[in-house]
């Protein structure tokens, strides 16, 4: 009789383990899809930021709305600045 009990217990353990495996696989799949969705969203937002901050968009907007223009090389200065106080050893 004992062997029958052992046999049923082993069967139950196998079935439980298999079910847990399927549940974990399903959850893993869902998380993977969620991550894909978030990555896609991030890529799209990054693309929009890049497009919005590109010269193609910003320069005409700045010229039209703010009356700005592209500076020539005589309109900006390269200045040497003193280094920040260094930390001793």
């Amino acid at each position: 009789m004992l062997w029958l009990v052992v046999f049923v217990c082993v069967l139950l353990a196998i079935a439980t383990r298999q079910s847990a495996g399927f549940r974990a696989a399903r959850r893993l799949g869902e998380l993977r899809e969620e991550r894909m969705a978030l990555e896609a969203r991030r890529t799209e937002l990054e693309r929009q930021i890049r497009l919005g901050s590109s010269r193609q968009v910003l320069v005409p907007l700045a010229e039209r709305a703010l009356g700005l223009h592209q500076p020539s090389d005589s309109e900006f200065s390269l200045l040497p600045v003193a280094p920040s106080p260094s930390v001793g050893p």
Partner: protein, 656 residues
């Protein structure tokens, strides 16, 4: 009736026969045909599926993505599987953004399967995953976030595949392509599939990422500058190349063809052209390197027209003309400065064809540059035995009978900027594995020393004259920084002959003159109106350099651009005992307002005693420009504080 023992024996025999038959069948099924049935069971219960590997991404040098692979989705709808068709339809229309009326029509037509190709992204299909009757099928798709930026160079994939078809996608295909994986799915009786975590055969391995030398910001400047120039000049096409002469890295490559029937292509690599006067420098290099001319030697300018003998007898001649007429004699520097065809043709006769050929070959003409582009042209450089000795030498000296690509020309000018050492131009900076670990980093690759550093310095002096006051390329010159350069204007060779009235205008520049950081090639095909390189390509070069300087994101080391006064101060400070040298940094002013209306004069602010930075800020806030003399604390200004100055006017600031 048989005896009971006989009956029992018969029954036992029957049982035994049955057992034997059962065992025989069992042996047949399990042992004889066992493998076949096991395969059959496996086939009906499981399905092997290839897992596609993600293709590696392509980035610019600052890791701006230029080409990436994302998972996209197609959606299938089985209307009869939907629990609530109305709600399902609304959810599909809302999530996917597809036209509701069209889907509704498909629903009403009684179709059993509606397929929406899309492709849709993961965000769009996320909310549809739990709806019965909606079947989502994923697939990798190549995506170019920066749209058309550098597309002819980057290329693309074969339709509906992950295999490179053109450009860098093709050239770097083996690096970008990953290894596909394999998984086993379980199937139930209804044909539904379940992922089984214990049955993953092999994980897919994503492809490696590639970091290019391209600078997206500079690329945008080049593409926009070229497009504006072509529109303004009503030209047929053009090319722009930016190259770092110290590393051979190609920073920007813009190509554009706008004439009818033009096929978009990376003509910076594929289309050789006759470089015209930009090639005069290479004849000068051969003359100097072989010691065949010195700075005092001159040739007669022939008053702008010379009938050059092209046979030993002198019976056959070729007329050569100059735009800039020389009534006297000219030396080599003057010949380059004014782009004299006559003087260069005369000087070229001192070279043997072999010497001239060797120099052009050493500069990289007639052979592919070696950049990682799959369909690069080698250009055209005929060997000396195919030359007409006198005719071809003069032609080569003027930039004819020689075909070069813009990239080859950039690499050759890069050698002059790099003290005579030719570096192989490259588009590839790094290869990284999917985790970001650097697998390969390209180092500058010297091809050969073409000329001595002394000759390279002399050639740069010639270029300084050619782009300086009175030179053909003076329109490329900036106010605060010196540009070296040479113009070129060549007749266009089309359909087997020189097309009348059609020209290629070119400008080759090195920037800045001291410690060069950029080589720029601008070529305009058949501009309308003024067609000289000095009037067309040179000002385009200046505009693009100004934009590059004004952009803090472009790969220019501004510390090496410090004006001479500041550099002297920096050097002096570095020689002081215990005093660290100040680190030069860049302050780019906010662009001042343009003067659409007549501006009212503003008083010059008092900046005496303040730092240079404070003075710059105060002046720029009033719309005034600053011209700096010296460094340190401000001692005086002109105009003085309180005097009126028009917005946009320059105020000279003296500092000590």
């Amino acid at each position: 009736m048989a005896k009971p023992t006989v009956r029992i024996a018969a029954i036992q025999f029957g049982f035994a026969l049955g057992v034997v038959a059962l065992l025989t069948r069992a042996v047949q099924l399990q042992i004889v045909d066992g493998e076949q049935w096991a395969r059959e069971a496996e086939r009906t219960r499981t399905e092997r599926r290839v897992l596609a590997a993600r293709r590696g991404a392509i980035y610019d040098r600052n890791l701006v993505p230029l080409a990436i692979t994302q998972e996209f989705y197609h959606v299938g709808i089985a209307p009869n599987e939907l629990d609530d068709p109305g709600a399902g339809l609304r959810a599909i229309v809302r999530s996917l953004g597809v036209p509701g009326a069209a889907i509704d029509r498909e629903f009403r037509s009684g179709k059993r399967w509606i397929y929406l190709h899309g492709p849709f992204n993961a965000t769009q299909v996320q909310s549809l995953r739990d709806i019965d009757g909606v079947h989502i099928e994923g697939a990798f798709q190549r995506f170019y976030p920066s749209r058309e930026l550098a597309r002819p160079v980057i290329g693309g994939l074969e339709p509906d595949s992950a295999v490179g078809a053109a450009g860098l996608e093709l050239a770097l295909d083996s690096i970008l392509t990953g290894s596909p994986g394999e998984a086993v799915l379980l199937k139930d009786r209804a044909g539904r599939r379940y992922a089984s975590p214990s049955r993953l055969v092999r994980d897919p391995v994503p492809g490696n990422d590639v970091v290019l030398t391209i600078d997206a910001e500079l690329q945008e400047i080049a593409e926009r500058g070229l497009a504006d120039a072509l529109e303004e000049m009503k030209a047929e096409g053009g090319d722009v190349v930016f190259l770092d002469p110290k590393t051979g890295e190609l920073l920007a490559l813009a190509s554009r063809q706008v004439h009818p029937g033009a096929v978009p292509r990376a003509s910076t690599f594929t289309d050789p052209f006759e470089p015209g006067s930009t090639a005069k420098l290479f004849t000068a290099a051969a003359l100097l390197q072989n010691g065949l001319v010195d700075s005092t030697e001159k040739v007669f300018g022939e008053r702008g027209v010379w009938n050059m003998p092209v046979t030993r007898s002198g019976r056959r001649t070729r007329q050569i003309r100059d735009v800039h007429v020389h009534k006297g004699s000219v030396n080599l520097a003057e010949a380059i400065r004014t782009s004299s065809n006559i003087a260069m043709a005369k000087f070229s006769l001192r070279l043997t064809p072999e010497q001239q050929f060797d120099m052009l070959r050493d500069f990289g003409f007639g052979t592919p540059s070696g950049a990682e582009f799959p369909s690069e042209s080698r250009g055209l450089l005929a060997p000396p035995h195919r030359w007409q000795p006198m005719y071809t030498r003069a032609s080569m000296a003027m930039g004819y009978e020689l075909g070069v690509t813009p990239v080859q020309l950039a690499a050759a000018y890069g050698a002059i900027a790099n003290d005579g050492v030719l570096l192989a131009p490259t588009l590839l900076r790094e290869v990284r594995d999917p985790s970001g670990r650097v697998l390969f980093r390209r180092e500058p690759e010297p091809v050969r020393r073409v000329i001595s550093s002394q000759v390279a310095a002399r050639l740069r002096q010639f270029l300084r004259g050619a782009a300086g006051e009175g030179g053909t390329g003076e329109e490329a010159q900036l106010v605060n920084y010196t540009v070296l350069g040479k113009t070129g204007t060549a007749r266009r060779f089309e359909d087997g002959r020189y097309a009348p009235g059609k020209y290629s205008a070119t400008f080759a520049a090195i920037f800045p003159a001291d410690d060069p950081q950029l080589v720029v090639i601008v070529k305009i095909d058949n501009p309308k109106g003024s067609y000289y390189g000095g009037r067309t390509a040179a000002p385009v070069t200046r505009t693009m350099l100004q934009q590059a300087l004004a952009s803090r994101r472009v790969a220019i080391d501004r510390g090496r651009l410090t004006p001479p006064a500041a550099r002297v101060a920096t050097t002096a400070a570095s020689q002081g005992v215990g005093t660290p040298a100040p680190k030069p940094v860049v302050v780019v002013s906010w662009p001042i307002r343009s003067t659409d209306s007549v501006p009212s004069p503003v008083p010059v602010p008092s900046v005496k005693g303040g730092s240079v930075r404070e003075a710059a800020l105060a002046l720029h806030r009033r719309g005034l420009r600053m011209r700096l003399q010296g460094l340190g604390r401000v001692t005086r200004t002109a105009p003085s504080a309180g005097e009126l100055a028009a917005p946009g006017a320059s105020v000279t600031v003296w500092a000590e």
